[in-house]
């Protein structure tokens, strides 16, 4: 007995956490400043495991921070700047109140500002770290660049965001790193592969903002402030990795081609506008011709077999082919299609693009150009049509990019009902339901060419074939099983007969030359190996294996069901159409 009584909440988790208000008081900052600081420094609230202990017995919901994080914040030089700013505002208010204009002038000249460079370096110690986190920055920059300059946020921020996004798009074009596009009802999703990192971003449609009221603009602006700084540094690094000039300059050749159109924009803005037209290539530091593609180095790693290597090589080749998807094609965008998105897409895959002069600056050729191969139109019909070009709807471009091949243009002609635009972000595992349109595209990728006529039916047939293939495989397995069972039965009978002491019926028959189908044999061998492996499994593993196989089978069954449903749906639609056609007649 003896010693001091232990007090509650003076050790353990209660001392590891600090409430938001206490943290704010510790840093001597107002709540908005504190919030801004936390966002900039990347310090987030934390939910303690034992709330009641941390909250000193109370169960009220509070925002907690880790005490160590707040202690870390104490060392931040920006905190001082925030305090300076507070004082600055106070002085300014006072000067205004006393109508001391000279003092106002002087104070404004010495307005305290802060830099975020050191925080970027601190939070992203290496360039790859920054690249991994660039998704958010891109989304935010693209979002803010579409805002109207109406005072929801600083006009300067909007301008900066616009500049950075244009730089980013130009980089993606120059490096040809775009991989996927998806037009959703929300906005357009892009995915690019930059230095081995998959980067996804969302671009809102233009002019689609109704400003929601339940969004805290101050928080968003703070995030944007941080992300613009990050994006700028990343852009710089990326441009230098491609030997491009930063800030981006137009190629001297193309620059002379683009005449100055005085009435389009102010002089200060016209250069950015020209850049954002995305029609011209960028100037390089070392002006060399495009480097020859390096042969893929082969370093056989021991863990890998040749198959995976080959697969990778194949993928690489496919990617190279995708990069040159639109090379040699000349596009013209009609005025009703989304210009920026399409120009970005076409230039990313090496195509040439132009538009009407009145739509945007930077058009390179006219509608009347005879060498145009594709004219992108999004209206039911066009008055004057040139015979030597395709008039297609914009979805063709997006679908081509996702399919990595040039799709047949017939489905996308003017006034034709478009095939569905499938999401490239869905990756089906084997056994999942795959929509027939995707199957068709996959067949095209494999190089199978459907006949030009009755495309739809062809598609269906293929789908059926696919289904049959799967079934066949299953059947094969079953058949083999049956054969084995039959053999075993025969053997059993023979043994029984032998055990009963009967002499076996021996017969000599003329031998037949067995036709050895090498492929078949190999397959059989493999199947046998698999069977044996299954037999050798432990009970536990076997159980697991059975479970997996059951799941797979169930998936296949469900997929088949969906496919059948789809077929029924299609048939119903077809019959409807026929009926309608008949009634019209």
């Amino acid at each position: 007995m003896g010693g001091l009584q232990k007090k509650k909440f003076e050790r353990g988790s209660a001392t590891n956490y600090i409430t938001r208000n206490k943290a704010r008081k510790k840093l001597q900052l107002s709540l908005p400043d504190f919030r801004r600081l936390c966002i900039l420094k990347g310090i987030y609230p934390h939910e303690p495991k034992h709330k009641k202990k941390v909250n000193k017995g109370s169960t009220a919901a509070r925002t907690f921070y880790l005490l160590k994080d707040i202690r870390f914040l104490l060392h931040e030089p920006i905190v001082g700047k925030f305090r300076d700013y507070k004082v600055f505002v106070r002085k300014l208010k006072r000067a205004y109140g006393k109508t001391e204009w000279s003092a106002v002038e002087r104070l404004k000249e010495n307005k305290p500002t802060y830099k975020l460079d050191h925080i970027i370096k601190e939070r992203f110690p290496s360039f790859i770290d920054a690249l991994r986190d660039i998704d958010d920055a891109l989304c935010m920059a693209f979002l803010f660049s579409t805002f109207a300059r109406t005072g929801k946020c600083h006009v300067q921020t909007i301008q900066l965001c616009r500049r950075l996004t244009v730089e980013w798009m130009n980089y993606v074009i120059a490096s040809r790193s775009l991989r996927k596009v998806f037009i959703s009802i929300k906005g357009i999703y892009y995915q690019a592969e930059v230095m081995g990192q998959l980067i996804t971003w969302l671009v809102p449609y233009q002019f689609s903002h109704d400003h929601p009221t339940d969004v805290d603009y101050r928080v968003m602006a703070t995030f944007t402030e941080f992300y613009t700084t990050l994006l700028g540094f990343v852009n710089f690094r990326l441009y230098h990795s491609l030997n491009l000039v930063y800030p981006p300059k137009l190629d001297s050749k193309t620059e002379s081609e683009l005449k100055d159109e005085d009435d389009y924009a102010m002089n200060s803005e016209s250069y950015l506008e020209k850049l954002s037209a995305l029609s011209a290539s960028l100037a390089r530091v070392v002006s060399t011709a495009e480097e020859e593609e390096a042969q893929l180095d082969q370093f056989p790693v021991e863990g890998e077999d040749i198959e995976t290597m080959e697969a990778r090589e194949k993928e690489e080749k496919q990617q190279e082919a995708q990069k040159k998807l639109f090379e040699g094609l000349k596009f013209f965008l009609n005025r009703e299609v989304p210009r920026e998105s399409l120009a970005f897409l076409i230039r990313c895959f090496g195509g040439e693009v132009s538009w009407d002069k009145s739509v945007c600056i930077g058009s390179t050729y006219d509608v009347t150009d005879e060498t145009i191969t594709h004219h992108i139109v999004d209206r039911p019909n066009v008055d004057k049509q040139y015979i030597n070009r395709y008039y297609i709807q914009p979805q063709w471009l997006y679908d081509c990019v996702n399919a990595k091949i040039l799709l047949p243009v017939e489905d996308y002609f003017l006034g034709v009902t478009l095939p569905p635009h499938l999401s490239p972000f869905v990756e089906e595992k084997d056994g999942d339901y795959v929509p027939p349109e995707k199957l068709k595209i996959m067949a095209l990728q494999r190089g199978e060419k459907p006949a030009q006529e009755d495309e739809e039916e062809e598609g269906e047939e293929e789908e059926e074939e696919e289904g049959e293939d799967e079934e066949e495989e299953e059947d094969d397995n079953e058949e083999e099983d049956e054969e084995e069972e039959a053999d075993e039965k025969n053997l059993k009978i023979m043994e029984e007969q032998r055990s009963q002491g009967k002499s076996l019926k021996v017969k000599v028959t003329p031998g037949k030359v067995k036709v050895e189908n090498a492929a078949r044999l190999e397959q059989e061998e493999k199947a046998e190996e698999k069977r044996l492996a299954i037999m050798m499994m432990k009970k536990k593993e076997k159980y697991l294996y059975d479970k997996i196989m059951f799941g797979k089978k169930r998936k296949i069954r469900e997929a088949n069901k969906l496919a059948a449903k789809r077929k029924a749906h299609d048939d119903a639609e077809k019959s409807d159409k026929k009926k309608k056609a008949k009634t019209r007649k």
Binding site: D135, P420, S423
Partner: protein, 461 residues
């Protein structure tokens, strides 16, 4: 007065002077007596000599100059008089009229009288400012300039200029860089990851002056959620979706709506008024009559209470234990303990033979704990993708963006965007635990509103 008159007389007697005021007050001024004063000093001379007549004269000269541009006496007759021959100007006026008539009929536009008054009407030229034409110290300056030219030709720089040249230029750009805001659209970027830290100063000094950056703890670089920054919408969210994926998305949205509806219904049900609780005529009557009508069973109740009181009062006292009894109890206790100890021992001995089953049970237990561990781990993993409770409010997921089958646009041109990307980003930040969910602060009125009828309104009513 008298002296003034005399002066005028003097001036008028001067040759060629024509007095404007032909006053004839020459008579009757001799009555004043002359005062004798010494004028031997300049001061007294100035004081007592009368110069009014000269002043008057000069004034008159100036007046003449102002009004006529010179002395009248020196002017020629032609400039002073003209020959009056009726009204010959009528013809001229008629000629002029049509020109003015074009501009304005009726009145001839004339400058306003007030402007005429304000006009400079003196005919005397304003005096010239001599200094405007004459440079002070011109000679000296000229000489200096000449000398400087000579020196410059020789190549000698004056001392002052040398000093100026030697002075360090004021770095204005540095200051500008300080005041540059973060959102300046023309801001410069550089290779932040390429350059090494250039701080070569004494680390102790840097640390003490607070210039050294504190190393960021590794733990802070962990993300608070495993969710990706950009969650791509389900395939049914395509602008031109595949039939089934669209149906799947609709189904999902439908399920969410149904759930919400159920909750709302539940609340409505709980809030509904219970029919049994409403007052009927009977209950109202009963309430009114309560206490007025005597009831028969009241007495019985009182009797019952009395009986109960009697029962509660009795406390049973236990008898004292005898020695014998105590001994017996003790022996029983010891015996019981012995029995239990024996039992335990035999059990332990028996366990030797139960080893297999014990092993099995231990194994079972271990398996159970392992399963639990796995389950807990999985739950923790799943928790990482969940939004945490970070503040007063719970995270509310955004409404799903869905377009019904008839809202779907056939072509990109007619596409109507659904939802707001801004909100999507904001909710994503909340979902990833980067910021706590908050509500917009409500406006609180500090002072009470007071309604006053305006007088005009009050008069009507």
């Amino acid at each position: 007065m008298a002296s003034a008159r005399r002066l005028k007389r003097v001036a008028a007697s001067q040759p060629g002077f024509i007095n404007l005021k032909s006053a004839s007050d020459s008579a009757g001024s001799a009555s004043s007596r002359r005062k004798r004063v010494n004028k031997n000093k300049k001061k007294s001379w100035n004081k007592h000599s009368d110069i009014n007549d000269i002043d008057d004269f000069l004034e008159d000269v100036r007046h003449q100059e102002r009004t006529t541009g010179g002395l009248l006496s020196e002017k020629s007759d032609d400039s002073l008089f003209f020959l009056d021959i009726g009204q010959p100007k009528k013809a001229e006026q008629k000629e002029e009229e049509p020109v003015e008539g074009k501009k304005r009929k009726g009145k001839v536009s004339r400058p306003l009288r007030i402007d005429l008054i304000l006009q400079h009407d003196s005919l005397v030229q304003p005096p010239k400012d001599v200094l405007a034409y004459q440079q002070p110290n011109a000679k000296k300056l000229r000489r200096i300039a000449q000398k400087a030219e000579q020196l410059a030709a020789k190549g000698v720089v004056p001392r002052r200029q040398k000093q100026l040249l030697n002075r360090r230029p004021v770095d204005r750009t540095v200051k500008k860089a300080v005041t540059e805001a973060n959102n300046n659209p023309d801001r410069e970027y550089y290779d932040i990851w390429g350059q090494e830290s250039k701080n070569t100063a004494d680390p102790w000094y840097l640390q003490q002056t607070g210039k050294k950056l504190v190393k960021r703890p590794e733990k802070l670089n962990e993300k608070p959620s495993v969710l990706p920054a950009v969650e791509v919408i389900a395939p049914g969210g395509s602008y031109n979706p595949d039939f089934f994926s669209h149906q799947a998305l609709l189904q999902e949205a439908h399920d969410i709506e149904v759930k919400k509806q159920k909750e709302e219904d539940k609340i409505a049900r709980q809030l509904a008024v219970n029919r049994a609780d409403t007052a009927t005529e009977e209950t109202v009557f009963n309430e009114q009559v309560e206490g007025l009508v005597e009831e028969e069973n009241e007495e019985e109740v009182a009797l019952d209470e009395e009986e109960e009181d009697g029962a509660v009062g009795a406390i049973v006292l236990a008898d004292k234990k005898t020695e014998k009894k105590r001994k017996r109890e003790k022996a029983e206790k010891i015996k019981e303990q012995q029995r239990l100890a024996d039992r335990r021992q035999t059990d332990q001995r028996q366990q030797l033979f139960q080893l297999r089953s014990i092993k099995a049970s231990i194994k079972q237990q271990a398996q159970k704990t392992q399963a639990k561990q796995i389950k807990r781990k999985a739950k923790q993993e799943a928790q990482k993708a969940q939004p945490r409770r970070l503040g007063k409010l719970k995270f509310q997921p955004q409404d799903m963006e869905v377009q019904l089958s008839d809202e779907l646009a056939g072509s990109l041109r007619r596409l109507k965007p659904e939802g707001s990307v801004l909100k999507d980003r904001f909710k994503s930040l909340q979902k990833r635990n980067l910021i706590e969910p908050r509500e917009r602060a409500k406006f609180k009125r500090r002072l009470k509103l007071k309604y006053v009828e305006k007088r005009a309104f009050r008069e009507i009513t």
